[in-house]
């Protein structure tokens, strides 16, 4: 597939989300078709995420949306990494939807943000994934390549 595919699709998405986004989701920057930043917050009163805003970084390959985007939380002075049993403290997210197993090309930036919002909303555990410290120290893989590694470990 050629690069125009990703650019055209992202152009369409940008057009749409520049006009309106669901509550709690805000586009921070989309200066090119490689990397976008989005802020999300949890809408209900979940004490784990109350009054916090979280920064997401989307990276798109030229094969998007056939391939999933790489999505991580980014840490900044005023943007912490949300606590969640599927979110490592370096911002890497373990979510089926973002891996090759669960991705579908009808997903988009908005739908991914909404899934992450609801993943946080529904969480009650004040926990990191098992092995977080070790993973964060040792991991040199990009999020999209880690997928395998989880699945192999699961088998």
């Amino acid at each position: 597939m050629s690069a125009p595919f990703a650019a055209k699709r992202l152009g369409k998405e940008l057009q749409k989300i520049s006009n309106s986004l669901p509550p709690g989701i805000e586009l921070v920057s989309a200066d090119n078709f490689e990397e976008w930043l989005v802020d999300i917050r949890v809408l209900d009163d979940n004490p784990l995420y109350r009054n916090e805003i979280y920064r997401l970084r989307f990276r798109f390959s030229s094969t998007y949306p056939i391939e999933p985007p790489e999505v991580v939380f980014v840490k900044l002075p005023d943007r912490p990494i949300p606590i969640h049993p599927h979110i490592y403290s370096n911002g890497i997210i373990c979510l089926d939807l973002l891996g090759h197993q669960g991705w579908s090309p009808v997903q988009n930036v908005e739908s991914v943000c909404m899934s992450l919002q609801s993943m946080l909303t529904g969480n009650t555990k004040n926990e990191r994934p098992p092995g977080d410290e070790e993973f964060v120290r040792g991991n040199r893989l990009r999020p999209r390549d880690i997928e395998f590694y989880y699945h192999d470990n699961d088998v």
């Binding site: 597939m1 595919f5 055209k8 699709r9 056939i66 579908s104 090309p105 009808v106």
Partner: protein
Amino acid sequence: MKVKITKWNAVATWRWDIPEDDVCGICQVHFDGTCPTCKYPGDDCPLLSGKCGHNFHMHCILEWIKQDSAKGQCPMCRQKFEWTEPPHEPSVDTSQGPPEL
């Protein structure tokens, strides 16, 4: 009064014969437009309708289906994506106004 037609121009429009006025879920372009890799809509960039009831530009869905991770499933409903041959023929609508007199 008699009218003699000396010249007329026929005008026709077309659209895909699908119930909804919708966009392709993969490229998000209107079905009557092309997939991102094509220039001309219509026969050059046909639609493919799954038995599950979901439609896509043929070029878009084939890009997806050839991925191993697609497992042959419809991106919308994850049922096996089987299509009905042949792809949709455009339906020609000739009722767009009278011929020019």
